[in-house]
């Protein structure tokens, strides 16, 4: 690299510039550290978000739209149903503090269609519940033992769908089951 013919003499910045610059950098670093902490510690089930989470009441029949539950990993709602997407999908919801979970509960998932025969592994809050096959329209049910669902907290129903597949070359989603409603009801009245 050729050196310039005339090099202007080095000048020093005034104190005001240094104070302003150091303040800007200090604020920036504080903000960056805060954002990194927030990003690293993010958890969708964080208690801070519980108040915002949709409330599901035992006995209700909830639909696919998401007013009563989070649909984690599912595709966007379509006309009358919502496709699962990928090999693992969750339905998460908050149960009221006074929800009666001290007895066995019947979990029922109603599908309007499936992408062929679909083996489904169902877990609730990380506890294995049932392995079954779903074909076409119809419900899939499982009985949750007493105490598995927890009142006042976010509960998660996980579906593991090993045979999810692309329906055609135009639709690149991995689809397995199309859900329209789900419910949790007492097994005995």
């Amino acid at each position: 690299m050729t050196s310039p013919a005339i090099t202007p003499p080095a000048r020093r910045l005034g104190l005001r510039w240094w104070i302003a610059g150091v303040s800007v950098w200090a604020l920036f670093l504080v903000w960056m550290i805060w954002i990194l902490i927030e990003a690293h510690g993010y958890d969708p089930f964080d208690p801070r978000f519980i108040d915002n989470a949709p409330l599901y009441r035992i006995g209700q029949t909830a639909n696919y739209r998401g007013q009563q539950a989070f649909f984690l990993g599912w595709s966007s709602p379509e006309a009358g149903f919502r496709w699962s997407e990928g090999h693992k999908d969750e339905i998460a919801f908050r149960l009221a503090n006074d929800a009666d979970t001290g007895r066995p509960l019947l979990l029922s998932l109603h599908f309007v269609m499936t992408a062929g025969r679909q083996p489904i592994r169902i877990t609730v809050n990380g506890v294995f519940l049932k392995k079954t096959d779903a074909v076409g329209a119809g419900p899939v049910t499982a009985i949750a033992p007493a105490g598995l669902f927890q009142p006042g907290r976010i509960n998660a129903v996980t579906l593991e769908l090993a045979s999810a597949k692309m329906p055609n070359s135009q639709d690149t989603r991995l689809l397995a089951v199309a859900l329209d409603t789900f419910s949790i009801k007492p097994t005995t009245p």
Binding site: T7, A10, G21, W34, I35, N52, E85, G86, T172, L174
Partner: protein
């Protein structure tokens, strides 16, 4: 390396300034009248390109009918921006539900301001901001480009921006024009060595797009280049301009920082825009790069047909995506380093954001749309004077390619616009 600025005077006027002895006569004093005429002429060119581009969009998209309200319900992102403009941000904590918190505030804020000042409807104000930003961006870009490049290259760059396949997003109520204006102003201040103004512009722009802060690379590179010329590499930091710029550089994050503070205060989740963004992300789709690596395009090529292009204009977007870095590398020596660097950084990030389905590739197109070094590279590429061929021959070849290219882009733009219009206004693109 950057091309030296070309003289804007034509060869005829240069010849007129020579006397019979071949000596160059002193330039005539610039009168107010002449200055006004030059300014008006300079404004007329970007304005004409803007009007041509808008007319093309209007023809393709039935825009005038839309403005009367037939399909004025808006679609896709414009719906979200209108919602924010009227009612502010809403967030229920469900990160897998599409919510308006995923969108950044600069564009709806400007829309709300125009709505209040001009007593416009929410839809009209957003469209007004979007289209005025496009016009302003064209004007600013014109003056930025004219400092470095010839009139044909400058006009061609704007024309390529205005008639590209995804130029619909310059007029349809999306936020791209505001971002484009931010980019143009950043370059405008950077080429005039107004570093603080450039950084502040980036700070504001980052409230429109989170990756807007990446633009900080532009004034930084330009300032380093200037300091190197004045002081050399060894004494680079003797430059007070560079020292000042480095001190204020974090201001380029001001917009996104203020937005995260607001989200943290209001919703207790400063990164809510990123978290809820998952609702737009499909887990099973793969990126264009991944498709390339796994030879998935071979299958598409076997089924290639003209009808295929017409019915799936996303292929056009993918083609543009693939051609962009090649074109850029071919033009590298003639482009300013800061612009090239910015482009490469952006394209490096964009492939992570974009997938292979039509919606995502449309996103790719509109994100690429605002990175003007790409059309600038194309314009340089087809500039006759840049060709190492005999003068008469290269003029003819270049003129032919130029004409073909513009026609192809216009056709592609029209096809893509028709296609997206169909999606937008047939209801399938409505926000649920």
């Amino acid at each position: 390396m950057a091309s030296p600025r070309r003289n804007s005077l034509s060869s005829r006027s240069r010849a007129a300034r020579r006397n019979r002895a071949g000596k160059v006569a002193p330039p005539a004093p610039v009168t107010e009248h002449r200055r006004l005429r030059t300014t008006l002429l300079n404004l007329a060119i970007p304005l004409a390109i803007f009007l041509f581009s808008f007319a093309l969009y209007a023809l393709a998209c039935d825009s005038f009918t839309r403005a009367t309200g037939r399909a004025a319900a808006g679609s896709w992102d414009e719906t979200w921006y209108r919602y924010i403009e009227k009612a502010g941000y809403v967030y229920n904590g469900n990160i897998y539900e599409q919510q308006n918190i995923a969108f950044f505030p600069l564009y709806p804020l400007l829309g709300a301001l125009l709505m209040k000042l001009a007593h416009l409807s929410a839809d009209g104000a957003l469209l007004g901001v979007s289209r005025l930003s496009t016009l302003a961006a064209f004007v600013v870009l014109y003056f930025v480009l004219r400092r470095r490049y010839s009139l044909p290259v400058t006009a061609a760059t704007l024309l390529l921006l205005g008639v590209g396949p995804f130029s619909e997003f310059l007029f349809n109520g999306y936020s791209e024009p505001v971002f484009l204006l931010g980019i143009a102003l950043t370059f405008w201040f950077a080429v005039r060595s107004k570093w603080l103004a450039s950084v502040l512009t980036i700070g504001v722009t980052s409230a429109g797009r989170p990756y807007g802060c990446l633009l900080a690379i532009v004034p930084l590179c330009a300032c380093i280049e200037k300091a190197r010329k004045e002081h050399g590499w060894r004494h680079l930091f003797d430059s007070t301009e560079l020292q000042k710029l480095l001190l204020v550089l974090p201001l380029s994050f001001a917009g996104i920082a203020l937005h995260t503070l607001y989200l943290g205060w209001r919703f207790r989740d400063p990164l809510a825009f990123a978290h809820v963004g998952r609702a737009w992300t499909s887990a099973s789709t793969t990126s264009t790069v991944w498709n390339l690596v796994t030879w998935r395009y071979l299958h598409a090529l076997r089924q290639f047909s003209f009808h295929g292009i017409l019915s799936h204009p996303q292929l056009l977007g993918q083609l543009i995506f693939l051609l962009a870095p090649i074109t850029l590398l071919l033009s590298f020596r003639k482009l300013a380093p800061a612009e090239t660097f910015l482009f490469l950084i952006m394209i490096g990030l964009l492939h992570l954001l974009c997938s292979s389905n039509p919606i995502e590739i449309t996103n790719l197109g509109r994100h690429l749309l605002v990175i003007y070094p790409y059309p600038l590279a194309l314009a340089l590429w087809i500039e006759p004077r840049e060709w190492p061929l005999p003068r008469r021959l290269h003029r003819r070849i270049a003129a032919g390619i130029w004409a073909l290219f513009v026609v192809a882009l216009i056709v592609a733009g029209a096809v893509a616009s028709f296609h997206y219009t169909e999606i937008f206004y047939a209801g399938t693109g409505q926000v649920s």
